[in-house]
Symmetry: C2
Subunit: 497 residues, 2 copies
């Protein structure tokens, strides 16, 4: 525990305040919730010039990338605010009483909507100090859903976390939100204590498989288990068909390298393994690619984790270095990479035979600027490999529309990944209505959910049915007269306002 | 392990077949899925006269109740079949590419729908040998969602399970469904082995807190954790306001007793605790109620569990017997109830002071024909108690529309229960579009879901996004031309076919 860490007593006070704030916030109107989100977005924009330098200093990410990320963050807050009044996310359903219900017993008047789940604990990620941190996606969707948020700051950017928290707290106060609606805690122990607190009703996390699984286990073994929405890790395989490789080897090599090395490879959707035809000129094109020079990673923990995973991959017989950027720890086969200095980007290569023999090691995520290129002889090998994939955030196919193999490959990939891409690369996760960021374990701990895009709000809601409740006591979304003017399912039929 | 139990080898074969069948079934058209459900419903109706006597022998439930339950079961299958073509459950979303997307980077073409989660393990319940067993709600919704089902039979009705399985398997074959789409296993060890099998991707359960939590823990500690939809237990408190008590004490007493003693109290929504004003004539009315005579419970395990929970409640100082039915183990205070013979229905009583001092014991579920009547002096005591409630399937208010207390009471109850009722009783869970059967833990292990009603299908689905995928490779629900003719969210706007 460091001086900066939140004490046990303070954590308990914070949870207590969050529970009270949640009870108040769930009664706020949709317009009040939307205004609060917009106010936070405006305040972040106004404080950009103060926040960006702090972020640069603490994360080593470039200014342009950070400004883009902040724009994404405020866009996300505003998009949730814009979505709220439309109300489809409430999934409002009204069944009128029906004495002749064919089930064999009269149907009572039943009305159901989604309601806030309660005080929510959000664990910030290191690699997006704005978009997946203090005021990031999980915070935005939990607030939009009507819950208070306790934010566990990432130790990689504590000052930025405090600075952003101050902006958020002031903005929420200005918007008239209840005190304690958003609070930040620091320290691993504080996070665990909060996760165990009975007042916390849901948690969200973005980070490593190891850390995420440990927290998931805590959430699942509480006396009252709570939903834990963990986005843990993914190798994001990309498959290039023979005809696609023949058509544009240079373009594929260029775009793949850009996707692997952007943000120094520290993106959860980085394509970590690329399958290409043996003998294709893609391999030569990749060898010829000039990789970026070594650059510091987010923090020393990320850097040592990257070196370890890279060393494990390189230790497999049959894995060779295809190309590397200038700088420390790069290039030379057998180099342990344990010397000082930032790690250089590197592309490794192996045959599909080697991959299949060491699938667990070679399909593990290397979080940082590295990827493995796997050469196959026959396209059907991609089907075998797809069958053995663990859960993934994304899977990519670079192909031609009339490639026969993709008819079989695509369904295998949709069974194992949350997002399947065609002739595009998986990094750069757009915030949209249809986005899906989450897949089977270990990509996420909650396969039915997303942490990016508008569907993320459902994670922080729970259904409640009202039976035979008089109009005056019903929530607005379920009143007969539809005062919110939202689309509802009435007696089974989707009914527009 | 008994002779009837499924061997390890056989379980493994069954899972393997279920995985293959799931892969085939997910490619079946919506019309094929609907036809299969209808065919199963028709076959169950045709075999009713064979199945009902087996159910009567194994469960001690009355013929009329079982016939009603079978009707509910086939209704449920048909209702899912009817819902499928409408397609709103697919939550189809289409975002067209947008170069000017204000996030700061172009939006790609993204399309998202819900897809089958994979082979599903369903644990049958004892108390509904049709509606929550072999061909019950979980089976219906998992099949409707496009998954194969492995059914762990309840040991309370093994012969009925086998007989129903035969009907279901034959009907599915007749409807052209893949082999292995529905299979049944027997035995606790077989169930645990199946729950640990990597091929199983989701599980559903209805039963006790103890059994359900043990299975939840197994699901959560797998190398790949899977969703475990457990419906565990609930006390279903009911609150009577002073004015309601004054208005119709006799009616409240009569309807409460009917709800408590129906199906010998073996319903997960039985109102287990009734709060009434001290000095109200409801107490006298309840004392005067003639309770049904002792009747055998579902099986010896249920019976001994009921005796234990009843004895724990009676052991609390201040708990007295209000009334009891004729028969063994009833009536006399201090009676251990451990003598032979079926247990008689019993109503106990205590003050709210006693309840508050022994809340854990007195708010525990007594699964069987018993309930506790709690007298309060001031209506505000109901608010205090509501604040301390564990998660519930239901909470009931018997009140007058302009009772002031309910304005505060109702939100406290909706925060803790999945369904809140007004002047109706919670037993008799209608299968409808808006039904919600599930609440915070321990009512369920998955607070965001329901196990009854049409929304249950979402438990067995997972979202998949398609980025930049050509029309020919898209699933029908996401094709530009909308060949399924379903409502979709297109560029954020709900768009009807």
């Amino acid at each position: 525990m460091t001086l900066h860490d939140t004490s046990d007593d303070r954590v308990d006070q914070i949870i207590e305040r969050a529970v009270r704030a949640s009870e108040q916030w769930k009664r706020a109107s949709i317009a009040e919730r939307a205004r609060a989100l917009d106010t936070v977005a405006d305040a972040l924009d106004q404080h950009a010039d103060e926040l960006i330098p702090v972020a640069q200093r603490e994360t080593h990410l470039a200014e342009a990338r950070l400004r883009g990320e902040l724009r994404r963050t405020t866009f996300q807050l505003r998009m949730f605010a814009e979505m709220l009044p439309e109300g489809l996310w409430l999934d409002a359903r009204i069944d009128h009483a029906d004495a002749e219900w064919p089930m064999g017993a009269p149907r009572p008047d039943l009305r159901r909507q989604l309601e806030p789940i309660g005080a929510t604990l959000v664990f910030a990620a290191s690699n997006f100090p704005f978009a997946f941190s203090v005021a990031g996606g999980d915070t935005a969707s939990a607030l939009a859903a009507g819950n208070a948020v306790v934010l566990k700051a990432h130790h990689g950017h504590p000052d930025l976390s405090d600075a952003t928290t101050a902006v958020v707290v002031d903005a929420l106060a200005a918007a008239g939100a209840p005190e304690g609606l958003f609070q930040t805690i620091h320290g691993t122990e504080a996070g665990v204590r909060a996760l165990r607190a009975p007042g916390v009703k849901a948690a969200a996390f973005t980070g490593s498989v190891k850390g995420g699984r440990a927290l998931f286990d805590i959430a699942a073994t509480r006396p009252e288990p709570i939903p834990f929405y963990g986005e843990l890790g993914s190798t994001n395989p990309a498959f290039v068909t023979k005809r696609a490789a023949d058509k544009d080897a240079a373009g594929i090599a260029r775009d793949f390298v850009a996707s692997v090395t952007g943000s120094a490879g520290q993106l959860c959707t980085k394509p970590g393994v690329l399958f290409v035809p043996a003998g294709s000129s893609i391999v030569a094109e990749l060898e010829a690619q000039r990789l970026p020079a070594a650059a510091p990673l987010l923090n020393s923990g990320i850097e040592s984790g990257f070196r370890d995973s890279l060393a494990s991959t390189r230790a497999v017989a049959g894995v060779r270095t295809l190309s590397a950027g200038a700088g420390a720890g790069a290039g030379v086969d057998g180099d342990s990479g344990a010397d000082a200095g930032a790690p250089a980007p590197v592309l490794l290569a192996a045959s599909s035979e080697t991959l299949r023999a060491e699938m667990d090691t070679l399909m593990s995520e290397m979080f940082g600027p590295a990827a493995l290129v796997v050469t196959y002889d026959d396209e059907s090998e991609m089907l075998e490999i797809a069958d053995r994939l663990e859960g993934q955030l994304t899977a990519t196919v670079i192909g031609e529309d009339d490639d026969e193999i993709v008819v079989d490959l695509l369904p295998k990939l949709t069974a194992r990944a949350g997002r399947v891409l065609w002739n595009q690369w998986p990094t750069g996760v757009s915030v949209t209505w249809a986005q899906q960021h989450g897949g089977p374990y270990p990509a996420t701990t909650a396969v039915g959910t997303t942490s990016v895009g508008m569907a993320a709000i459902t994670r922080f809601l729970r259904p409640v049915a009202y039976q035979n409740v008089p109009e005056s006591l019903l929530p607005d979304a379920l009143k007969e007269g539809n005062p919110l003017g939202i689309a509802r399912r009435v007696d089974g039929v989707l009914t527009l306002p």
